[in-house]
């Protein structure tokens, strides 16, 4: 039941914040809405972590996997809502923004909870449409351009995905006379599906949803959208949206693996994973725009996640899921902190930002530590997940791709450090003066860093069991 | 008892060392159809210098004053280590042939510092060149000794002295050692003791600022060093006949040879000296190779 309440809450919050034009109060409404939603999703997680999936009116279906992604969405959207308060504190009538924000989050919740794959497809499309206006929110040339590319490319991808879904449905209905697109039933019918059709379908699925999940070479919308959207939205995009659409891929992979075996799906994902890593590595080296830099790093991390699936095995899956979670945290932190810097310096161009450590001690150090976190240095948790993925690679004998992963990680680390040390160190511009920073935001940074640190040393049993349940779903363990 | 013998031998060495220098000079002059200074001239010089007052640069520090003492001290200590008049007298615990090399290096280190101490340009130039040549000479010397000790089966002085059979390896290493000896004692193909042109000086340039007693110390130390090296050559690389007589004979022979060599060949440019030293290094390696082949 919670899920319905959750969604209703979001819709309600959205509507309310649409009607109260006033920025701050709308923000408060949204925040509270998010918090309530988060509470609900925590409840759901707790229930689903047990391993028994919840079915609500044969429409929503929440098992370990969905629960895990619920948690992910809940955490980052809550944090983002909080951050938006600070980000928009000076602008008036941001009601529309908050409305879209809620719809966006709503649609993502919808994606991970709905049972019917057709509906899931639609929800993913809605995420695009809702976030389109958010990306184009600043409504200047570049923003509109980015939004246009975003919508067009994602729609194309999604449409291809629909083709894949139809193929799935075709074989299901022709082999087993299935009359609907419910995941549960498709999954049950999984082993009867015609492998060739499934393979064909899977191509379209992975390319389709992969476009939205930011896998290279379908990733091109991503840096534009991330760089042009308001910072909270960038955080949400790469923190949650990418994972949500990767969730869609996973759902289909689960079905497909029943008939064509896991390795086939894994191989395709692995291919895209490696390409994403390579693209990210080289584009990050010569990047000028800080938000684009972070966007590419998202591409990289999605690549790592899909590599986790490629390497497979319990380790690989665990690593991939855990990595998705860590990345959501760390990347949001990165966007938040660099958002602060950008607001202060008034530019995205990294060559014009110098001596940030002096101007904004807290935000800058948060950005610095977060940078080391997403670069995968211990003791931050991303190191752990990357390490797990790597382990899976070496264990299952993928020596070349694991070595490639190591190399690209090194290059990316170099690129990140190169850019950030040039931004944070050095003399501050003459006209800049060290300003006091908002305590709330600093606290937020502190909390997120703490999370990253703690997860690096010990994964709480709750999360562990949740991920375990998720991977059980993936392996089809009942 | 042994200790006293050693002391005696050391004193004897100290007393005899300048003579070798004088001898070589005399021979050289005779070969050049000159009369030359009397054989005992080195003693005269040292005593004369002792008598003189000393002038020290006011820019110099205690290094400048201390260096000659340290130089001489290390030389004397080395004299204790090498066998000279009475062959196997070496006291265990004073280390081995490598230690001799390290000791000489200590003295050189301080002389080079002293050269820099007064701020005199020539001093600096001298010490730079000195360190340059010595650092290149070191490997050759060490490896030649290495080869000899391989033949002897130990780096211990006594063992080295005891090992006495002619082998190609020994000849090669002996030759290498001799080349190094010439370099280390500032002899002609590398350096020229008799030059009076500062720019061509190597060893002497370091000492330009010295006068009086200190200079005496240094000259004595120099003679000692030459004595040590020649004794090492005689004992470790020319293995026939033991006993003082043979020793002195061989010693004088080496001096004579050196004198002849010095008058017959010309001094090299500084950077040709590099090739010279590398050549001797190569010979010493060849000695090791020969030893491996058992010849």
């Amino acid at each position: 039941m919670e899920i319905i309440l959750l969604l209703i809450t979001l819709l309600f919050a959205g509507g309310l914040s649409f009607f109260i034009k006033k920025g701050s109060s709308a923000g408060m409404v949204t925040l509270s809405g998010q918090i309530i939603a988060a509470v609900f999703s925590f409840l759901l997680c707790v229930r689903a972590a047990g391993g028994v999936p919840l079915e609500v009116l044969n429409f929503f279906y929440i098992d370990g996997l969905s629960a895990f992604f619920l948690l992910l969405i809940a955490v980052s959207s809550m944090a983002t809502a909080f951050y938006s308060l600070w980000y928009f504190k000076n602008d008036e009538n941001t009601g529309f923004y908050y409305f879209l924000f809620n719809i966006f989050v709503f649609s993502m919740y919808f994606v991970v909870t709905v049972n019917n794959l057709g509906m899931m497809w639609m929800a993913v499309e809605i995420t695009t449409l809702a976030s389109a206006f958010l990306v184009g929110y600043r409504n200047n040339k570049t923003a509109v351009e980015a939004a246009w590319k975003y919508v067009i490319i994602c729609s194309v991808g999604i449409t291809l995905a629909l083709f894949g879904i139809i193929l799935f449905y075709y074989t299901a209905s022709s082999q087993t006379g299935l009359r609907n697109l419910n995941w549960t039933e498709l999954n049950a019918a999984g082993k009867f599906l015609d492998p060739m059709v499934v393979k064909a379908a899977l191509i379209f699925i992975i390319i389709g949803f992969g476009t939205k999940a930011g896998l290279a070479p379908m990733h091109n919308w991503l840096p534009d959208a991330h760089s042009q959207a308001p910072t909270p939205i960038s955080a949400l995009l790469s923190g949650v949206l990418l994972k949500a659409s990767f969730y869609a891929i996973i759902r289909f992979v689960i079905i497909a693996s029943k008939s064509v075996g896991f390795s086939f799906c894994g191989n395709i994902l692995g291919l895209f994973g490696i390409i994403s890593l390579a693209v990210a590595a080289f584009f990050m080296l010569v990047q000028k725009d800080i938000k684009r830099l972070l966007a590419y790093s998202s591409v990289e991390h999605m690549g790592i996640v899909s590599l986790g699936f490629y390497f497979g095995g319990k380790a690989g899956i665990f690593g991939a899921l855990f990595h998705a979670f860590n990345h959501a945290l760390a990347k949001s932190l990165m966007f938040f902190s660099s958002g602060v810097i950008i607001k202060k310096y008034g530019t995205n161009n990294m060559h014009q930002i110098k001596g940030a450590l002096e101007v904004l001690p807290f935000a800058a150090s948060a950005a610095f530590l977060g940078m080391f976190a997403i670069a995968g240095l211990p003791p931050f948790s991303i190191f752990m997940s990357e390490f797990t993925v790597l382990y899976a690679g070496f264990k299952n004998g993928f020596y070349y791709s694991s070595s490639a992963l190591l190399i690209f990680l090194a290059i990316i680390f170099g690129a990140l450090l190169f850019h950030f040390s040039s931004m944070l160190y050095g003399k501050k511009p003459a006209n800049m003066s060290a300003s006091k920073e908002s305590a709330g935001i600093t606290a937020l940074f502190g909390v997120m860093l703490l999370f990253l640190l703690a997860l690096g040393f010990h994964i709480p049993d709750f999360l562990r069991t949740l991920i375990g349940a998720a991977s059980n779903v993936i392996f089809g363990v009942e | 008892m042994k200790i006293f013998l050693m002391l005696f031998q050391a004193l004897l060495g100290i007393a005899a060392a300048p003579f070798a220098g004088g001898l070589i000079k005399k021979l050289k002059n005779n070969i050049r159809m000159r009369k030359g200074a009397p054989l005992l001239q080195p003693y005269h010089n040292i005593i004369k210098l002792m008598r003189k007052n000393e002038t020290i640069s006011k820019d110099a520090s205690y290094i400048f004053t201390a260096a000659p003492y340290i130089h001489l001290t290390t030389a004397i200590a080395a004299v204790f280590l090498v066998p000279s008049f009475f062959p196997p007298l070496h006291v265990n615990g004073l280390g081995d042939v490598f230690v001799i090399i390290f000791l000489l290096a200590l003295g050189r280190f301080f002389m080079a510092l002293a050269g820099l101490d007064t701020g005199s340009t020539f001093g600096g130039m001298g010490s730079s060149r000195e360190m340059f040549l010595s650092s290149l000479a070191e490997p050759a010397m060490l490896v030649s000794v290495f080869a000899a000790s391989l033949a002897a089966g130990s780096t211990g002085i006594n063992a080295l002295v005891a090992a006495g059979t002619f082998k190609i390896s020994l000849i090669c290493s002996g030759l290498a050692f001799y080349l190094v000896l010439l370099a280390e004692t500032a002899r002609v193909p590398v350096d020229n003791q008799e030059t009076h042109l500062e720019l061509t000086m190597i060893h002497e340039a370091m000492l330009l600022e010295y006068s009086g007693k200190s200079l005496a110390l240094i000259e004595l130390a120099g003679y000692l060093k030459q004595f040590i090296l020649i004794s090492m050559l005689v004992y470790f690389f020319i293995p026939f006949g033991t006993g003082p007589v043979f020793y002195i004979a061989k010693f004088l022979a080496v001096c004579a040879g050196t004198a002849i060599l010095e008058v017959t060949i010309a001094k090299m440019r500084l950077f040709r000296a590099v090739d010279y030293l590398i050549f001797s290094f190569m010979i010493s390696l060849a000695a090791v190779a020969a030893f491996v082949m058992g010849v």
Binding site: I152, L390, I459 | Y69, A105, L116, G119, S134, L150
Partner: protein, 614 residues
């Protein structure tokens, strides 16, 4: 297998304790030094920050040394690099420091990547990160895997230790760091790399083939000779010290490589001996390198420069620093009777007896003789290098205004230096007992039969092999030296009693005055070496004359630089290639949405065509 858990298992075997001791030995004086050094250089808050960082840094080093779990080791290791990076870039205004830090941590990270690979390969066989489990697994690893792992470890740990050719970060990071940090980094941190090598290659992986040892020896020789050569070219005091660290790492690795080949030549006794010698040099280098960096630091603090060409005459202005630096210089140039001499002597003995023993390995004899030669060359160059360092920066006349007014710093800077100077003497004179302990350590960790008894003739003297009548009793030797010294001194005092000493201008063959400008310079001092070794150093000169008329040259600028062979021909080109490729790849994304959709189309077509391949 649900994610990795870090378990904080620690182990305290002889090796770990030995390295823990070294960490203490260096970090306590450095801590004390830092108190005096940092005040006045940084603001109060930053000093506190630096202190906390330093504490954490030292703790992580302990963690690395004592961790009995490879994962914990890895985490602590990377943490160590990270903290030291923050310490190097302590002053956020220093652009140079941040760049140096960048190179440093990037290299460290690459090294860690290799280690990670190696660990994971072993782990995928062993299934546990426990070191003992690792050890057991390594017995059954196939040779190919073992070789891979060995090479990974060599690169990984070699990078941290600053072994040529993985050393490039070192001459950047060490000079830029605050001096006490440079001291700790050069004194201990790079030794932690050695520790990793010992722990994981020698005592976990085991020495599988002879060529492993040979490879290590060759790299070691390269590091020793190359390091000191580049050090000799430097006129920046701290950079020179950094390079000489590379040299000393090379010397240490000589001992370790010796161990590796002697094990394969089944000479357990010699192996232990050579390893112990290496350990001895580790201690010694820790002591005198820390001391020298402290000296350089106090110069930097008072004279505001670490460029030798601007120093001079400091022996009168800062006597304590000068004396300590002199002793350090003597020790590092391996001159008797100080500690550096002992360890190098031991290494020479190890090489010699190796050459003597390996009857069945004929060409090893020549190889080892060559190595001995290179060691000697290194010694000679080191002596030259430190004659230059001390002579130019402490002797003669000051070369700059600021230097003329220099003076010794406070006690918190002097005391640690004096302490370390004392240590140099102690570890030099009481070589026998120390070496006994070290052989014990080496024997116990290597599990080879304990030859400790054989190596010390009596309590005080060293003996490389029983029966070979070679003993070195350093106490005796130095006693003799002192006695002779006193003897000589008194004799000559007596002889020339009534002679007077006059103090005058430096003669310089009659040149009218000696001042800061016409003294011999560091660059001039190293000129012959630069010419002789030009095939490695590739010197080049920049000259510019500014003349106001044809006849009158107003000002004349002349610089000599040397090229870094490796940087010029390996690192820079590779990095440039990568950047150029990246620049080129930007063309793929020119902003046209059509092309982007085209990519999707192509991906689709590709998969459709190659569907059967997956």
């Amino acid at each position: 297998m649900e994610g990795f858990v870090v378990d904080w298992k620690l182990s305290f075997d002889a090796l770990s304790i030995f390295f823990g001791f070294i960490i203490l030995l260096v970090s306590i004086p450095s801590w004390m030094y830092s108190i005096g050094y940092m005040q006045g250089l940084y603001s109060g808050g930053r000093i506190l920050f630096a202190k906390i960082l330093l504490l954490l840094f030292i703790l992580t080093m302990f963690l690395v040394v004592f961790s009995a779990n490879a994962l914990l080791f890895l985490i602590a290791w990377e943490l160590m690099s990270l903290l030291s990076y923050f310490l190097v870039t302590l002053d956020p205004h220093e652009e140079k420091a941040s760049r140096a830090g960048l190179i440093y941590i990037l290299m460290a990270h690459i090294g860690t990547a290799f280690m990670t690979a190696a660990f994971l390969i072993i782990y995928s066989y062993s299934g546990s990160f426990d070191l003992s489990a690792f050890k057991e697994t390594c017995l059954i690893l196939p040779l190919k895997v073992k070789t891979t792992v060995f090479l990974c470890f060599l690169v990984g740990f070699g990078t941290k230790a600053g072994l040529i050719p993985f050393h490039i970060w070192l001459p950047f990071a060490h000079p830029e760091a605050p001096s006490h940090i440079s001291a700790i980094m050069s004194g201990v941190m790079i030794k932690i790399g050695i520790y990793g090598f010992l722990r994981f290659v020698l005592f976990t992986l085991g020495v599988e083939e002879l060529w492993w040892g040979n490879l290590v020896l060759v790299l070691a020789a390269l590091s020793a000779a190359g390091g000191i050569l580049y050090a000799l070219m430097e006129k920046d005091l701290k950079k020179m010290l950094a390079y000489s660290s590379i040299e000393n790492i090379g010397i240490i690795m000589l001992g370790i490589g010796g161990y590796m080949i002697f094990v394969k030549m089944n000479q357990p006794l010699l192996a232990v001996f050579s390893l112990a010698a290496a350990l001895y040099h580790i201690i010694n280098h820790a002591i005198f390198k820390t001391l020298l960096f402290m000296g350089a630091g106090s110069i930097l603090k008072t004279c505001g420069t670490k460029n030798m060409e601007k120093l001079g005459g400091l022996i009168k202005l800062m006597p304590v620093t000068a004396f300590c630096f002199l002793i350090g210089a003597l020790a590092i140039s391996a001159l008797p009777p100080l500690n550096g001499f002992i360890s190098e002597w031991l290494l020479l003995q190890a090489l010699f007896y190796g050459a003597l023993a390996g009857a069945t390995f004929a060409k090893m004899k020549i190889f080892l003789a060559l190595l001995a030669g290179i060691l000697a060359l290194t010694g000679g160059l080191a002596a030259a290098c430190f004659v230059k360092a001390f002579g130019i920066s402490f002797l003669a006349v000051p070369r700059s205004k600021k230097t003329e007014t220099a003076s010794d710093s406070g006690w918190s800077i002097k005391a640690p230096m004096i302490f370390l100077t004392a240590l140099i003497f102690i570890f030099g004179l009481f070589a026998g007992p120390v070496f006994k302990i070290l052989t014990g350590v080496a024997a116990s960790v290597s599990g080879l039969n304990n030859g400790a008894a054989a190596f010390t003739f009596n309590v005080l003297s060293l003996a490389p092999q029983e029966g070979s009548g070679v003993h070195l009793n350093n106490l005796l030797l130095s006693g003799a030296l002192v006695l002779i010294g006193i003897f000589v001194f008194s004799i000559f005092k007596v002889i020339s009693r009534e002679k007077s000493i006059t103090y005058g201008k430096t003669w310089t063959c009659g040149y009218y005055s000696v001042n800061g400008r016409n003294q011999y310079t560091a660059t001039g001092f190293s000129k012959p070496f630069r010419v002789a070794f030009s095939f490695i150093l590739m010197p080049y000169r920049k000259m510019e004359k500014i003349r106001d008329s044809y006849y009158h040259v107003k000002s004349f600028k002349y610089e000599v630089h040397t090229k870094q062979l490796l940087n010029e021909y390996f690192y820079k080109p590779v990095i440039n290639r990568i950047f150029r490729f990246a620049e080129w790849s930007r063309k793929l994304q020119q902003g046209s949405v059509h092309i982007y959709i085209g990519y999707i189309f192509l991906a689709l077509v590709f998969l459709i065509i190659f569907l059967k391949r997956f």
